[in-house]
Symmetry: C2
Subunit: 384 residues, 2 copies
């Protein structure tokens, strides 16, 4: 049996598993470790969400209301709410173009089954590594186009080249930079003129302030060239519940039809209580709760920035992200710097090199923590 040799092209450990191993090594030390590494939420689910989930469990325990296999595409009750929400975001997306998923990470690789092999794939980097690794595992040719401090991590398209797929994440994980309408328009026109398809990762769209496009479909032409993945992980605190959605437009060749066909043999849908939990947020009260929660995490980010500023550390000053992307102050590798930070002040940061090309020389702090821990982390950063 021949194993997939593309595994050899990956780092030995996935970046966030690597961080976990480092933390485990130190866990019995005196000073409590504050983990601002992996972007995992720490605040509980909203009561209206857990009520809906528990009600769904009750329904499943009664013969009359029991439900078996969910539709592979997701329940219409949830897809319709999402479709209506797209209208509020200035985009027209039909419920039949929406596919409920068990989170966004897997989708970044799953969508590749739509296309032929040996694709030329462009990643705007630094970037969340899951999508690039999924492509590498499949044997696709991955190219990185790095943003930098000078272009605020929003590079222009390489007009003299063309690609099959282009991955864009806005607001970007890890840099926090958000694409404006105009930025996106430039990339969509580039995709349309070169025949590329954009895989648009909107996992953090809830953090975008007014004035920024919350969906790629707010831009004309996007439905002819873009697939969008979204997640409830950060907005609803669903990292442990697992739910998101993917939009595969009907105007995108045969993609919508092929995606439905793929689901037939590859996926059996998302847990019913989970879908009911996600649905519960689409009301006035729910949206207000989410907004409050997002602002809480954004304030956390501001607190971390104040500490970095005090230490004269450069950071990407965006207002659209739960992450603070900062510059390593010396010539060390980001990995060495983060290791030293962990050893000295017991704060976990993610080395920029984990976010692939263009990430070296930076580190990322996650603001997904309780206020108490963020304040404590900020204090410790001052002693760096």
């Amino acid at each position: 049996m021949k194993f997939n040799e593309n595994f050899l092209k990956l780092e030995e450990n996935y970046i966030f598993n690597d961080l976990k191993l480092q933390i485990q090594e130190l866990e019995n030390s005196d000073t409590e470790i504050i983990d601002l590494g992996i972007g995992d939420v720490k605040l509980p689910l909203f009561p209206l969400v857990t009520s809906a989930m528990k009600k769904a469990c009750d329904e499943l325990s009664e013969k009359k209301t029991f439900l078996g296999y969910p539709p592979s595409q997701g329940y219409l009750f949830l897809r319709e709410k999402i479709a209506r929400n797209y209208l509020d975001e200035g985009a027209c997306v039909d419920a039949d173009e929406i596919f409920i998923t068990d989170g966004a990470k897997g989708q970044l690789g799953n969508v590749l089954e739509l296309f032929s092999n040996n694709l030329k794939v462009l990643f705007l980097s630094p970037c969340y590594p899951a999508g690039a690794e999924a492509n590498i595992l499949l044997g696709n040719k991955v190219t990185f186009l790095s943003g930098n401090k000078e272009n605020s991590f929003i590079p222009n398209p390489p007009f003299d080249k063309s690609f099959d797929l282009i991955y864009i994440c806005s607001p970007n994980n890890p840099t926090g930079s958000a694409f404006s309408h105009n930025d996106l328009k430039i990339w969509i026109n580039y995709a349309l003129s070169t025949g590329a398809i954009i895989i648009y990762d909107g996992a953090y769209s809830a953090f975008l302030p007014d004035g920024y496009p919350k969906t790629v479909y707010a831009i004309k032409g996007a439905k002819n060239c873009a697939i969008e993945t979204r997640s409830f992980s950060k907005s609803l605190g669903f990292t442990g519940v697992r739910c998101g959605f993917t939009v595969v437009p009907k105007d995108l060749g045969d993609c919508n039809k092929l995606w439905k066909r793929r689901l037939g043999c590859r996926f059996n849908g998302v847990s019913y209580p989970t879908q009911r939990g996600a649905e519960a947020i689409f009301c006035k009260e729910g949206k207000a709760e989410v907004k409050k929660r997002i602002n809480f995490y954004k304030t956390n980010a501001e607190i971390l920035k104040i500490a970095l500023k005090n230490k004269n550390l450069w950071y990407n000053n965006t207002v659209s992200s739960p992450y603070v992307f900062a510059k390593v102050p010396n010539a060390e590798t980001s990995r060495d710097f983060c290791k030293k930070m962990l050893a000295k002040i017991r704060v976990v940061a993610t080395p920029g090199s984990g976010f692939l090309q263009g990430g070296e020389g930076y580190f990322r702090l996650s603001a997904f923590e309780t206020r108490k821990k963020i304040l404590e982390a900020a204090d410790r950063i001052l002693t760096l």
Copy 2:
């Protein structure tokens, strides 16, 4: 952009979606349709399962007990229970070899990411189509080895040929035939001597009577050549909750290590309430409940068989399955026969051709229904 041309090799609709479309067409007719097509459970979740799920929801709604990302591999509390259960099944499987999944269907294709491209893959058929279709989509070369009435749908290995992967399902869906220890031993020795890896689908293992191996790992040598997928869908009624597990043994080359690496970038774990729900069944009371439920569905199958016998229709007389696999009585295609059956007696059956090579000329009835509906279906079959 080049789309995946392998889609053209599939039937236009996935078989069970095709059945759903046929049912929708007739739904407003006078006589209620009894759906014995797709194998979807109809009895509610066990109270001890929903209690555990609801308790987990409560934990997620409290700051102190909130949990974020689950381990990609699954929570140890569930993997340890499964590992202990393997001991009861006469196999030694370590918790670190067990991977919790959101069901079994996706796994039949996901495991392919471990291996190189252009594999030669053998399916013992007729078979559940998801695994074969996943391989076709990926461009692998799929070969079928058909069982038949004469060998009770348990064919012998083709000793003069070799394959990279071999898919085996026991008890088989759709035929219901179960592999004995000796049957499995023959296939494992064949795999070991030819260097093939067996993908063992044990989704229906709960239906096996005493004396049959409930896991491939009950047979010596299996840990050197087999990956096993299992599901809680039919035993716990989890078709709508979504949970199962895959075993990737440490003795199987680098598979265990590579699989963990794959999960890093491809999967974020299964919902916490779901895993707590599954865990709840691993107690004396829970196991008794499952046994009762399984026997209930098996009795349903016996009732259907009596009706078929009365009509002089041949069926595969196994005692290990929630499905009845029967012979189309005339020269019609199975698709035409099932369409006529639906039109005449309003009972949905799955045409054998949907289960690929060797399935034509047969039809499958699912026994996953309430007793009332099974009795009604049996009555109607008598009027065929």
